[in-house]
């Protein structure tokens, strides 16, 4: 019976399997990026960048319709442009980083909506915003899996500078020339994963699969490696659960996945090992003279 409910749908339907594979790739690629984003206090930056890729994808859509290559390329260009511009503006003008990023992402979002509205009917806009995890074709899966592979490899290679960058960027700058490589390379990876997630879950929710499991993992482990592992595993399990909910009780698939991740976050907040209630329940040793 359990088999029927949990495994059955995936055995029976190819589109369920493909959705699951897409989510697995995202869990392996995007969630570790999300871990680093949360450690570097750049979670909202990640959100802003997700919206910034919209006009690039929209231009790609305008040029070539719902073409994977065009929208991906457009999204990457737009995401990187906004990331670099925001940093540049923050460094050279009186604007702070958060304000300049907010300005650019709002401009991008409006531009993106405008561009999509110019070409297609509004149905297409809705699908661009919300994605179609149930309709991942071979090319889309190859893209997402490719991005995940590249991410895993690069994160492994640049693990130490990245962690150092999160913890003490000044120190890293002083002892190594890898600092700018780590910083900008990380941004490139973030944009790539957002673009990948965008095809499956859409603009609004791609960043959800990046940030939510990573934020929730913080309440269960305290070391970076652990965060990555718990984050990826929980992202995958939340995706599978979301897909099963969509299957059994007819919820739309994208929101079901993200809301499951959200529920996991709330639960972690309440009863995670390092959550506030749990910390109180653990006996603490008082300082004794």
């Amino acid at each position: 019976m359990i088999y029927d409910q949990l495994i059955g749908p995936f055995v029976e339907f190819s589109f369920m399997r493909r959705a699951l594979i897409g989510c697995l790739a995202l869990a392996l690629g995007a969630t570790p990026i999300g871990v680093f984003l949360t450690l570097r206090r750049m979670s909202l930056t990640g959100d802003a960048m997700a919206h910034a890729i919209l006009p690039g994808a929209a231009v790609g859509y305008l040029v070539a319709g719902l073409s994977l290559g065009a929208m991906t390329l457009g999204g990457i260009v737009a995401g990187l442009t906004v990331a670099i511009l925001a940093g540049l503006v923050a460094r050279t003008t009186i604007a702070r980083e958060d304000a300049s990023l907010a300005a650019f992402y709002l401009i991008s979002l409006a531009a993106g909506v405008l561009i999509v509205s110019m070409r297609g009917s509004n149905v297409d806009l809705l699908h661009v915003l919300f994605g179609t995890v149930l309709a991942l074709n071979d090319d889309a899966i190859r893209l997402i899996a490719g991005i995940a592979t590249v991410t895993v490899v690069l994160l492994t290679v640049f693990y130490r500078p990245l962690v150092m960058e999160c913890v003490d960027p000044g120190f890293l700058r002083s002892v190594s020339r890898l600092s700018p490589v780590a910083h900008y390379g990380f941004l490139v990876l973030a944009v790539l994963n957002l673009v990948g997630g965008f095809h499956a879950l859409g603009t609004l929710m791609a960043v959800g699969i990046m940030i939510l499991p990573a934020a929730a993992a913080r309440f269960w482990v305290q070391n970076v490696g652990g965060l990555i592992i718990v984050g990826s595993v929980s992202a995958f399990l939340c995706s599978a659960t979301g897909l099963l909910l969509s299957y059994h009780i007819n919820l739309p698939s994208g929101p079901a996945i993200i809301l499951t991740a959200g529920l996991f976050y709330v639960v972690s907040l309440a009863i995670g090992v390092y959550s506030a209630p749990m910390a109180r329940l653990r006996s603490t040793r008082h300082l004794e003279a």
């Binding site: 339907f13 719902l66 509004n122 149905v123 809705l126 149930l134 309709a135 969509s246 059994h248």
Partner: protein, 318 residues
């Protein structure tokens, strides 16, 4: 050279150009139709006695349409607004009040017996479902299926309502509207017969079709072809895995091997369904909007003709 004379002359010319529009002979009354199919029907009845503007153009989706300021201007200038009704244009009330339009709104579906929003699969009643122990009520956009124009019998009611509305706006043209309507009704009758005889050539067990959203309820009801879809009555809703799974199971069980893409929907989901069930994409159907002017369905008559030919063409080969 700015002399007094040149100044006076240019002032007169400027005044003339400003006043001239007001002196122009009476223009054609402006009529606004909510979407392309309705616009075409109103144009057929009104002929060249009216100047018609359509809000949701070809290949546009009226379920999720966002009106623009140009639309508000068109509505404000209009003498008559014609809408479909039955909850099709959810955005219209706000547009009308925003434009400050105080004229009459003609509802084309008035007096029509509408089909209620319900699961399409329950239509014929003899449809055996393998393991359907849960009958899900999908969220519908309104209580009734708004796509009434898919049945030509209903379009006769549309024409009657439009004639009434145009006549009350412009009583002088009553005769013209009547004769235009009579001519159009004759064409509609001919098309209706065409469709019925074409479908009669299909074997009974081949009259099932899959498309993107539940837009063909009236067509199914009138002409006896069963339509199945993963998304419900309005394109606003997103498909759930359960809906897609149910549809795939049904396609496999009922041996439906033709799937039809709609001109207003995202075809990726349909492609995925087609791939999983080995079904063929049988062609494009026009459900909620006409095609662009260089497309195969740029008038209502051509749209219905294209649709039935695409359907019977694919189903005959199967």
């Amino acid at each position: 050279m700015l002399t007094r004379r040149s100044f006076i002359i240019s002032a007169i010319v400027l005044a003339a150009t400003l006043i001239a529009p007001g002196l122009r002979a009476a223009e054609l009354p402006k009529v606004v139709a909510s979407f392309s199919i309705l616009g075409d029907i109103v144009h057929e009845v009104g002929g060249n006695r009216i100047a018609i503007t359509t809000l949701v153009g070809p290949d546009g989706d009226a379920h999720v349409y966002q009106p623009t300021p140009a639309d508000a201007r068109a509505v404000a200038d209009a003498r008559l607004v014609v809408v479909n009704g039955l909850g099709f244009e959810g955005w219209l009330d706000r547009l009308v009040s925003a434009a400050g339009y105080k004229g009459s709104i003609a509802v084309a579906t008035e007096g029509l017996s509408a089909i209620k929003s319900e699961e399409d699969e329950d239509h014929d009643g003899d449809h055996a479902k393998a393991d359907d122990d849960e009958d899900h009520e999908h969220h519908r956009h309104g209580e009734f299926d708004p796509h009434a124009w898919q049945s030509i019998a209903n379009v006769r009611i549309y024409v009657a309502n439009i004639v009434k509305a145009l006549t009350s706006m412009d009583p002088v043209g009553a005769k013209t509207y009547e004769s235009n309507a009579a001519r159009y009704l004759a064409e509609l009758d001919a098309l209706d017969n065409e469709i019925r005889s074409a479908i009669a050539t299909l074997p009974r067990d081949r009259r099932k079709v899959v498309t993107s959203h539940d837009a063909f309820g009236y067509f199914a009801h009138e002409y006896g072809i069963e339509f199945l879809a993963p998304v419900g009555m309005s394109t606003e809703s997103e498909a759930s895995a359960g809906d897609v799974a149910k549809l795939i199971r049904q396609i496999k069980n009922d041996h439906i091997y033709a799937v039809f893409v709609e001109n207003i929907s995202d075809r990726r989901l349909l492609d995925q369904i087609a791939k999983e069930t080995d079904a063929n994409i049988g062609g494009t159907l026009y459900s909620d909007a006409l095609s662009s002017s260089d497309g195969p369905a740029n008038t209502y008559l051509k749209m219905m003709r294209h649709n039935y030919r695409t359907l019977t063409g694919a189903l005959n080969i199967m």
